[in-house]
């Protein structure tokens, strides 16, 4: 096979898979709980910065994973209690409040770490041969990890008791309460888990992107577009949305350039927002 084509195909696959993991946190928070969390990107940034701090302290890269999860969980708890819970039936105000939170977090990161970018050392820096074309090893590792993570989460959601409880709460909150599910606590835990996934995504992509205070904005917009196009509340929606947005952007970037890629994504998102806001696989 033409090695160039293989590389380009791998680029597209990489884009789609990492996008799915980046959106995962928001798919949980927005798709299941209906919370429009505009600070989602900032939690990804938080994970990336935690990874940076761990690396500066000389710790092995894997140490960043529990550190980031802890940091996100610690922040998510008060956010859920004071920002999200009072605004559960005011989705518009949730949007604004989380946006204010994102501004706050962005500025706090800028004050703490400065406005410039930070570079992390790539944990695995060789390249491997995939179908005859060399490809950076860390990217391959990342793709594998993301696939495993998503598959595991899907399985858990379908099969486990906790997953069933979450599905019940999402389907009919009052009825779930009536059968004894503590929806308050479940919603809080789901929210925290969603944000922890965001932090985890940040740790994963940090070595490959510019880590700077404004990185979150792009992620949160892209995540919304993925969910709008793919559909909320269904894993199939997440995957199809990531495939659509990530695939189109990557393909257009390869064929024309990055601006064309992003503009195409915006056009697709606008169309879906206008005509089919429940996306390809969402419930109407």
């Amino acid at each position: 096979m033409d090695p160039l084509l293989v590389t380009q195909a791998l680029n597209v696959l990489y884009e789609v898979v990492t996008l799915a993991v980046i959106v995962l946190g928001l798919a949980i928070v927005f798709g299941l709980l209906g919370v429009m969390n505009l600070a989602h990107g900032e939690f990804i940034a938080l994970g990336a910065y935690v990874a940076y701090v761990c690396q500066s302290l000389g710790l092995p890269y894997l140490a960043a994973v529990p550190a980031a999860i802890a940091a996100c969980a610690l922040l998510a708890l008060p956010v859920e209690r004071f920002l999200i819970r009072p605004l559960y039936d005011r989705p518009f105000d949730t949007l604004l409040a989380t946006w204010g939170l994102s501004l706050f977090m962005r500025k706090a990161i800028e004050i703490g770490f400065g406005g410039g970018y930070k570079s992390l050392k790539i944990p695995v820096s060789d390249s491997v041969l995939v179908l005859g074309a060399p490809f950076p090893a860390y990217r391959v590792l990342l793709m594998a990890l993301c696939a495993v993570l998503i598959a595991a989460l899907l399985l858990w959601y379908r099969r486990s008791v906790a997953g069933a409880r979450v599905k019940a709460m999402v389907g009919n909150r009052e009825l779930a309460q009536a059968v004894g599910i503590r929806t308050d606590r479940l919603a809080r835990d789901t929210f925290v888990v969603g944000l922890c996934f965001a932090g985890l995504a940040g740790v994963m992509v940090a070595p490959l992107v510019s880590v700077q205070p404004y990185m979150g904005l792009d992620y949160v917009l892209r995540s919304f577009f993925v969910l709008v196009v793919g559909g909320l509340g269904s894993p199939l929606g997440l995957l199809s949305g990531a495939a659509a947005i990530g695939g189109v952007e990557s393909a257009m970037s390869a064929l024309v350039d990055r601006t064309a890629g992003y503009s195409t994504v915006l056009l697709i998102a606008i169309f879906f927002l206008w005509r089919r806001p429940h996306g390809i696989f969402g419930r109407s």
């Binding site: 204010g100 004050i111 927002l273």
Partner: protein
């Protein structure tokens, strides 16, 4: 509106006098912020009045700025270039209106999705502005824009901006008090209900959005000569975001709110941002606080101050309202073989019934028989998959509440849905204006004083309706039912659909409502279809009864015939007597 003129004149004089106190640099700085304030006013009109939030308003500021800049570069020497600037603003407004119309007609509710659509559109515009080097100059921007002829000093544009701001404040103040403002506020509260009164809510919202586009356009058109340079930054997310923050903190419901927000937060930011790192944190925290606890913003604090202002309005003479535009003939309704389903459940199953004369009809049947669904099918909430509905002999295809209201079909819901945060007067007026007003009427103050014999009669029967300034949310449940019924009657419909009009009413109130229904039938000559469970009511009111069962018409006839029908007995096991 005399008080409005006085207040605007005072504001203008104040603004014009400021540079004398503050110096040339402050005039330069304030000039720019006055432009932002004009754009922020547009956001406040959409958000605070009509209830939708545009998150990409910088798109219109930037568009007008690029157009104005290009015009100034081409024809900057000529004196008439002043006249081109309003065209740049109007172009932005036209784009906003078109976008609004397309988006609002394509979707039924605004909410957060509209905000994200506008955000996405503005991001797209930023991409275009950033890469289209030939036209916009790309990242480097459109350079070398000359100042307006005669206004080349640093502080000169300030005066122009001050005048523009005062005019914008006056315009918005006018619209807020005009019928259009009332309609916008009603849409923000319950858009579906407004549509049921025969208003094209998509058009109304698009007008608000178009207005905001014009205001943003004025800001952009004056920005270009003041700064001399237009970069894609102007179209970017940062300015859109700042506008929202300024409006939120300043207060979105009051006209002066955004001006306060821009001036206080914007100027403080500009001064303090370079001194303390923490200023932006404070602004972000303040914004979150306002969203959580103080949605009125700073403007809400000014409410007591407003009472000091001159010109409290006195009670005005009522005017006779024009007649409704819908035809005044008796309505005929024919439903033939209509079927509708939701998923697996058959809601309506080859339903056929007909109304040929004015009168009081009752629709009865056990729970789940499809009574409310019949109403929903008539007004377009439930899609019929088979069968035909003919209104006045014309086939009704794809009905919408708005279209049906225009043809004289009124509806009252089971749970009273009056506009709680509007006064009784405003509620009644909204009903009164439906079907009688055009766009021009919405801008005039006169329709606020309209009255009709029907309204006067209703006021006579229900004295509490006279207390016009009282908020509808302060009424008891029974009073709200009556208010909504009055609103429905005031539109003088030809076919009135009432869904359990006496639900939750005391015996006395019920008797009053029945009297009103009979009176309406006699005076207006309309057909009333009432869904009712209370057989006593049905006995007293109905001239003709339809019995529905499992989505089909089981039996029909006058009350006596129904009572003796064995099929009806079978269905109503243990029917109330």
């Amino acid at each position: 509106m005399g008080s409005l003129a006085v207040r605007s004149a005072v504001l203008l004089l104040l603004l014009l006098a400021l540079p004398l106190a503050l110096g040339e640099y402050w005039a330069f700085q304030l000039g720019l912020f006055f432009l932002y304030a004009i754009a922020a006013l547009g956001v406040a009109m959409c958000w605070g009045q009509a209830g939708f939030l545009p998150l990409g308003q910088a798109l219109f500021v930037g568009l007008a700025a690029y157009l104005s800049g290009a015009a100034l570069i081409q024809w900057g020497e000529a004196w008439w270039v002043f006249l081109l600037l309003p065209f740049a603003a109007l172009a932005a407004g036209a784009l906003a209106f078109l976008l609004g119309l397309i988006i609002f007609r394509g979707r039924s509710e605004s909410g957060p999705y509209f905000a994200i659509i506008t955000l996405a559109i503005s991001l797209l515009a930023f991409q275009v502005a950033n890469s289209w080097n030939e036209v916009t100059g790309g990242y480097n921007g459109m350079k070398g824009i000359p100042g307006l002829p005669g206004l080349e000093g640093f502080s000169d544009v300030y005066y122009l901006a001050a005048v523009a701001l005062a005019c914008a404040v006056a315009l918005c103040g006018w619209l807020v008090q005009a019928p259009l403002g009332t309609l916008w506020r009603a849409i923000a509260l319950n858009e579906r209900r407004v549509a049921y009164f025969g208003y094209d809510t998509a058009m109304l919202k698009a007008i608000a959005f178009g207005l905001s586009g014009v205001l943003a356009g004025i800001a952009g058109a004056l920005y270009a000569p003041q700064q001399g340079l237009v970069t894609p930054e102007l179209v970017g997310f940062a300015l859109s975001a700042d506008l929202v923050i300024w409006v939120a903190v300043g207060g979105r419901k009051r006209v002066l709110g955004p001006v306060l927000g821009v001036v206080l937060v914007g100027i403080l930011s500009a001064e303090l941002r370079e001194r303390t790192y923490y200023w932006d944190l404070i602004v972000a925290a303040g914004f979150v606080f306002v969203v959580l606890y103080a949605s009125g913003g700073i403007g809400a604090l000014l409410a007591p101050l407003e009472r000091l202002l001159p010109g409290r309005r006195k009670a005005l003479e009522p005017l006779r309202a024009p007649a409704p535009k819908a035809p005044r003939t008796a309505v005929t309704l024919a439903i033939e073989g209509v079927s509708a389903a939701a998923g697996e459940v058959r809601i309506l199953d080859r339903l056929s019934l007909a109304i040929a004369r004015p009168g009081i009809y009752c629709l009865i049947g056990p729970n789940g028989a499809g009574k409310t669904s019949t109403f929903n099918m008539l007004t377009g909430e439930l899609r019929a998959q088979a069968g035909e509905v003919r209104l006045d002999g014309d086939t009704l295809s794809k009905p919408t509440p708005y279209r049906l209201a225009r043809r004289g079909v009124g509806r009252k819901f089971q749970i009273p849905s009056v506009f709680g945060e509007l006064s009784i007067d405003e509620n009644l007026r909204i009903a009164l204006w439906s079907g009688r007003t055009s766009l021009l009427d919405w801008l005039r103050p006169a329709p606020r004083r309209w009255d009709t014999p029907v309204l006067a009669a209703l006021r006579g029967r229900y004295p509490f309706l006279d207390d016009g300034a009282r908020l509808a949310s302060a009424l008891s449940h029974g009073e709200r039912q009556v208010l909504e019924l009055s609103m429905a009657l005031v539109t003088e419909p030809r076919l009135l659909l009432l869904d359990e009009p006496c639900a939750g009413l005391s015996g006395e109130e019920t008797a009053q409502v029945m009297a009103v229904i009979r009176w309406a039938r006699d005076t207006l000559g309309l057909s009333v279809v009432i869904i009712e469970h209370d057989m006593a009511l049905v006995k007293q009111l109905a001239e003709h009864v339809f019995v529905l069962h499992q989505g089909r018409l089981l039996a029909e006839g006058d009350v006596a015939a129904i009572r003796s029908d064995p099929r009806v007995h079978e269905v109503y096991v243990g029917a109330a007597e």
